[in-house]
Each structure stands twice: as structure tokens, then as C-alpha cells.
């Protein structure tokens, strides 16, 4: 194994881990603030990748406009999703929210994925696959050549995660989000409006998740039915990293990303899902309280 291979593998693992961490953090914020377990989370990644593929393949509008369309489309979808599938649970107990939200979001995911797969196969491509091929050149950093695509993914994911972090730490609304996540009743007594928090979390979360789907499609093609598997990846990271914990999400995402990339390199990519599932079950047995020490 040459130095170049090592660098490629590490960059591949970390950039994949960055995407996973972003997605997992968005999922865990929505879980912590609204108790809704969004099984359709990965579906939004698939939708992001699908819309981006459609735009870049068929609409010669250039990437700034395409990005604007993507953000607006998923902001609208986030608002709709929150109003239709999150708000109805607002006044219920956490157990009721859990069962109800699993049913509703699972149903949403199945319907969307089935329709997407069916529609895409019928009108666009009989073999549905969402991938973006940008001619990113290899970049030379400190004398080593690194993949431009991977670097772009890593920088974009890092920027999004930093944005999330600054929003939560530095803005009044971010403080309200953290308050609701920490103690719902206490936050409401102090005058925080939980509706506003929920709207913001789903709006930002779904835009970020769709964006992560676009980034992932730069590296590997997604399929209409990838959504449930991606939700599971995000859930895995939330379980091993701890709910609402950014360091936990980064650590879990990095661990899973590296494990998948190394498995793909040594055993072949078909074994990546098996290894990430085994990592998940092993962490549960060895450290059920999560890697970051907080009980999930």
C-alpha cells in the first residue's frame, strides 16, 4: 500500500464520515426537539440526489441557480413535512409520538420511494440511479495529490456542520432549540415557542439532509430505495454517538465512514453494509451508553 493509497482511503473515509455526521446530527436534533423519529430522513437524501441529477442532466442552468432551486424546493418540502407529519403529534406523550411517527414517516418513505422508483424508471431511465459527475481535478496539497471531488465533499460537509454549530451556539433561536432539546417543559415555561423550534429544525434539517444526499451522489450513485438504509446509517450514528451531541455525531460518522471505505478497499464494496451493521451491533454490546458516554 503506497502513501497515495493511504491518503486516498483516509480522505474517502473522512469525507463519507462528514456526510454521515451531518445527516445524523440533523436527525438527532429533530429527535431531541420533537421526539419524532423520522424514518424518512434518508429518503430526503435520495430526493436531494434525484432532483440534483434531474437538474444537472436536463436543465442547462449552471450550478448557482441549480443550488438555489434545490434549497428552495427542500425548504418548501421541509415546511410541508413539518406541518403535515410532525405538528399533528405535538400535544401527545413521547410514547405515542414514537409509534405514530414511525408509522407515518415509514409510510411517507415507502410511498415516496416507490413512486420515485416507478416514475423514474418510466419517464427518465429504466435503471434508476442518481449520480452527479463533476470534472473536479485532482488537487495537489503539500506535495500529495488528492481527489478534488472528495475534498469538495469534505469542505462542504464541514461548512454545513460548522454552520449548524454556530447557529445552535450563537443565535437566540439556536439557544431556544437547545433549550427545547434539553427540557421541553422548562423551555416552554420560559417562553420558548416549541412550534417555531420545530419549524426551524425541520426546515434546516431537511435542506441539510438533501444537500448531504447531493454530496453523496458526487461520490457514489444512489438508488430510489437507498433511503431506508441511509436512515439506518444515521440512526446507527445517533445511537453510538448520543442524541443531540455534535462530537458524538462526528466521531460516529467518522468511524462508520472509515469502516465502510476500508471494507470496500479490502473485501469489496458489497461487504460495506455488513461491516457497518456489525460495528453497530458490536458497539451496542460493548458500550451501550454510546461512544460519547451519554445514554441514547
Amino acid at each position: 500500500m503506497t502513501l497515495q493509497t493511504v491518503i486516498d482511503l483516509v480522505l474517502g473515509g473522512i469525507s463519507l464520515g462528514g456526510i454521515y455526521a451531518l445527516v445524523a446530527f440533523a436527525l438527532s436534533l429533530s429527535l431531541a426537539t420533537t421526539h419524532v423519529l423520522n424514518v424518512a430522513h434518508g429518503t430526503f437524501m435520495v430526493l436531494g440526489a434525484a432532483l440534483a441529477t434531474l437538474l444537472f442532466r436536463f436543465a442547462p442552468i449552471g450550478w448557482p441557480l441549480a443550488v438555489l432551486i434545490l434549497v428552495l424546493a427542500f425548504a418548501a418540502l421541509g415546511l410541508f413535512f413539518e406541518a403535515a407529519f410532525v405538528r399533528p403529534f405535538a400535544a401527545k406523550s413521547p410514547e405515542q409520538i414514537l409509534v405514530g411517527s414511525i408509522l407515518v414517516t415509514f409510510g411517507f418513505a415507502l410511498t415516496v420511494e416507490a413512486l420515485l422508483g416507478y416514475g423514474w424508471a418510466r419517464w427518465v431511465d429504466p435503471q434508476p440511479a442518481f449520480s452527479l459527475a463533476f470534472p473536479f481535478a485532482r488537487v495537489t496539497v503539500l506535495g500529495v495529490a488528492v481527489s478534488g471531488t472528495r475534498l469538495t465533499i469534505l469542505l462542504a460537509a464541514a461548512a454545513a456542520i460548522t454552520g449548524f454549530h454556530l447557529f445552535l451556539r450563537r443565535t437566540p433561536l439556536g439557544r431556544a432549540v437547545r433549550a427545547v432539546a434539553q427540557n421541553y417543559a422548562g423551555a416552554v415555561i420560559l417562553g420558548v415557542n416549541p412550534r417555531r423550534v420545530s419549524v426551524v429544525i425541520y426546515l434546516a434539517g431537511i435542506v441539510a439532509t438533501a444537500g448531504a444526499g447531493v454530496l453523496l451522489a458526487l461520490a457514489i450513485p444512489l438508488e430510489p430505495y437507498s433511503g431506508l438504509r441511509l436512515t439506518l446509517v444515521a440512526m446507527t450514528i445517533v445511537v453510538i454517538g448520543g442524541v443531540g451531541s455534535l462530537p458524538g455525531a462526528l466521531l460516529g460518522g467518522g468511524l462508520l465512514g472509515m469502516a465502510e471505505v476500508l471494507t470496500a478497499y479490502t473485501l469489496g464494496s458489497v461487504w460495506s453494509p455488513v461491516v457497518s451493521l456489525l460495528v453497530f451491533f458490536s458497539v451496542l454490546v460493548v458500550r451501550p451508553e454510546g461512544l460519547w458516554g451519554r445514554r441514547a
Binding site: G107, E113, A114, L115, M235, V238, L277, L278, S282, V285
Partner: protein, 319 residues
Amino acid sequence: MGAPGLIRGAAVLALVAAVAIPLVGTRDLVTATFFTFLYIVLALNYDILGGFLGYMNLGQGAFFGLAAYVTVLLLNGGRLDALGPADMPAAILIAVVVTAAVAFGFAYPLFRLSGAYFAMATFSMVLLVRHLILNLSDWTGGSYGVYVNPRHYLSLPVAYTAGLALLLASIALNRAIAKSRLGLAATAIRESELAASTIGLDLFRVKRRVLVLSALPSALAGGVFGLQAGYIDVDAALGVDKTLLPVIMALMGGSGRVAGPVVGGLLVRAIDVVLKNYLHLAVPALAVYGLILLGIGLLLPEGVLNAAGRRLRWAARPS
């Protein structure tokens, strides 16, 4: 006639219909009814965990699919030929034991979790079995699937009878659990894990026993399914329908009561058969299931029977 009398009358009618269908029905109808039996068995098994223990198992299909594969691969391997005609029951029996052992093993990581995390982790059990079968293609045929040797093919009348017997046994199992110490312990855990542990219950052992028990009929159903189908692949044996429909059925009928999964199963299967065989919809059936699931979650999260029961109790309440 009160609600229990109504259910008893309906049960007798359903049993008469189940016996009459192979005598008068078309082959399509018999096949559809056979699958209905298997699905309701899975739904009843799901509810042992979901209804009594309050843990949502989205991976019931893993036990079904694993047992189907083990049964078919054992018979195809030819190692059981020495047993003569007893090889088919022996293969199914081994598959049940293997599945029970797998359920026993999965209990360790799974019951570290509860609530939403438990539900999602059980779903990853299906994915793990699925990926392993796809990847170990030298043994399992991978994505090409495996054919059952015609010698071992289970004819429809035999499979139908086995399915019906399995359904009745599953109903009896759920009723027995409901009345047993184990069922009481499970219900205590559902209501409050803290309270259950303070009265001296070993929570993990109760949970593990319930999980293993719930896997047994599913494994039997998987074995019968594999031999009757004549060909299995990961989509047939471990498809989303095998793992999700039982959950939908139990929740739709009413979780936590024996009749719930049965009523829900009949409803979902009726919708399914009408959708696929009569309506010829332009959209995939999965999308329609998704919408049904969504509707139940928003409108009737406690299920048809529980909602009806609550209304009856409400009406009967002395003012």
C-alpha cells in the same frame, strides 16, 4: 350480542370459510388464503413483542426469511437424504432451531436499546441477514436465488393445511402467553420497566424469552413458505412486505389483543388482493401500503379494534 360474542361468531365463520376454500375455491384463491395465513402468523408473532412487551420489532421478517433459506439450502445440500421422507420436517425443524439461536443471540445487542432505537435496530437485523445472503452467493445463490428440488416441493393443499394449523397454533400461543406468568411479566415491563425491576423480575431474561418465543412460529412459516414457493430469493423471503406488513396488520387491527393481528391481517390482505388482482392500479402497491401506514399513524394509532373497543366502553360507561 356483546363484543366478545361478536368476535366468537366471526371466528367460527372464518374457520368454516378456511376449511371450505380449498374445496370450492380456485387455485388463486387458495394461494391467496395460504399467504394470508402466513402473514397473520407473522403479525401475531410481531404482537408477542409489540403488544405484550411494548417493544416494536420491525425485523420479524428476518426470522421468516432466514428459516426459509436454511430449510431450502439444507434440503438442496442433500445431507438429509438419509432420513428419507422425514427429511422435510427435519430441515424445517433445524431451521427453527437455527432461527431461535439467532434470535437468542440478537437479544443481547437489541435489548440494550428501547423505544425508537430498538425498532430501528431490529430493522437492521433484516438488512444484515439480507446482505449476508446476497454476499455469500456460493452457498445461497446470491441475487439469483435458489430453486427447491422438485422432490421437496410442498404441494398447495399440504402447505395450506400446514399454514392453517400454524395459524391456529399461533393464536393459541398468543392466548397462552396472555394468560401465563411470562405474559404478565412482559406486560409489567411494558407498563413500567422500573416498577417491573423493583418487584424482582429479571428484565433481560423475560425480554429474551419473549423474543425467542416470537421467532418460533415465524421460522416454521418461513420453512413452509420456502418449500411451497419452489424458488426463493432475498426479495421473496426477506422483502419489505414480509417485515412491514405484519406490523401494519397488528397495528391496524389493534396491538395487545389476540384478535387484533387477525382482524388487521384480514383487512390488509383484502386490500392487497383487491389492489393487485382487481383494480389494476397504475402505481406500485408499495406506494399504496405506504399511504395506508401513514393514514393509520395519523388517524387511528391505536388500531381498529382498540378504537372500537374504547368507543364501546365509553358508551357502556354508567353515567
